[in-house]
């Protein structure tokens, strides 16, 4: 069972370039036809420097590019078969567009037992910066571990 001692634990930073082909695969999978994600000239007309990424794509960029996508689970000795995604949040500070190179830095910010210890909620917060050092987003995921 994950204990309070996990709070503050940080993980290997992930560097991710926003590649157009990978992004197109995501858009096609979702049936996303919105031209803002596909038409670079249109995106520029809207004030972006290139086509922007969809609002949940930051989560994918981190997993696609991580050497060990489930590092936080293995490091905390959590069995992948016993986790569910409980909550997810994104706070956006600046646009992320095709061609950017992002750095994701994650750490555990909370661990709480629920239902008399039948479940443990683990919160991992991630700070996202771009190639210019700009802080572009903060994300937080809560995983529910079935003990």
């Amino acid at each position: 069972m994950v204990g309070q001692s996990a709070i503050g634990r940080s993980f290997t930073p992930v560097t991710a370039r926003v590649e157009p082909g990978r992004l197109r695969y995501f858009l096609n999978t979702l049936g996303e036809r919105n031209p803002v994600y596909r038409d670079e000239l249109g995106a520029r007309a809207e004030g972006y420097s290139a086509t922007p990424v969809p609002p949940t794509y930051l989560f994918c960029l981190e997993m696609i590019n991580a050497e060990r996508p489930f590092e936080f689970l293995t490091e905390l000795k959590i069995d992948l078969a016993r986790v569910l995604h409980g909550e997810q949040s994104f706070t956006y500070h600046a646009p992320v567009v095709v061609g950017d190179t992002l750095t994701f830095k994650s750490r555990v910010t909370d661990v709480a037992d629920k239902k008399g210890g039948a479940m443990t909620m683990v919160v991992v917060q991630t700070e996202v910066t771009n190639q210019h050092g700009a802080h572009v987003a903060d994300t937080a995921r809560t995983v529910v571990v079935r003990n």
Partner: protein, 138 residues
């Protein structure tokens, strides 16, 4: 984007609404690759059964991606300040999802006029799968 929400929405107004085709095993396989989330729970029925589930089920983040798509059909991506959700229930294969967003509050942050939205994703039986929120710049 041509279809952005009215810049003076009213509290209670529904400004996000989109329905999606049923989630298939093919969708889950594609999303596994596209998202980098290779958790076998969503594509390998043997793994799901061994973990105590009757079948594979959707990635929560696939469902959130659909909700995000519904959101940015109405609101340009650059106007979204935050987007969050709770995964209220597992989304099963075959689910036909409807995503909606209503204005709950008009607010101001550092001089920027914003709206807070309550977001939901429900399946064809009306069961809430995602209960979320967003803050958008007006």
């Amino acid at each position: 984007m041509s279809e952005t929400a009215n810049s003076h929405p009213a509290v209670g107004e529904r400004i996000v609404h989109k329905t999606f085709p049923p989630i298939t095993r093919h969708t889950l396989a594609l999303y596994c690759g596209a998202s980098g989330d290779h958790n076998p729970m969503h594509v390998d029925i043997d793994f799901a059964k061994a973990a105590g589930f009757p079948d594979v089920f959707s990635h929560g983040m696939l469902v959130m991606a659909y909700l995000g798509q519904a959101l940015t059909d109405a609101i340009a991506p650059g106007r979204i300040r935050s987007f969050s959700t709770r995964f209220a229930a597992i989304t099963q294969l075959g689910a036909r999802l409807t995503c909606e967003g209503h204005v709950t509050e008009l607010i101001e942050d550092k001089g920027e006029k914003q709206a807070r939205l309550a977001l939901t994703t429900k399946d064809e039986n009306g069961e809430v799968k995602l209960a979320g929120a967003a803050i958008i710049a007006l």
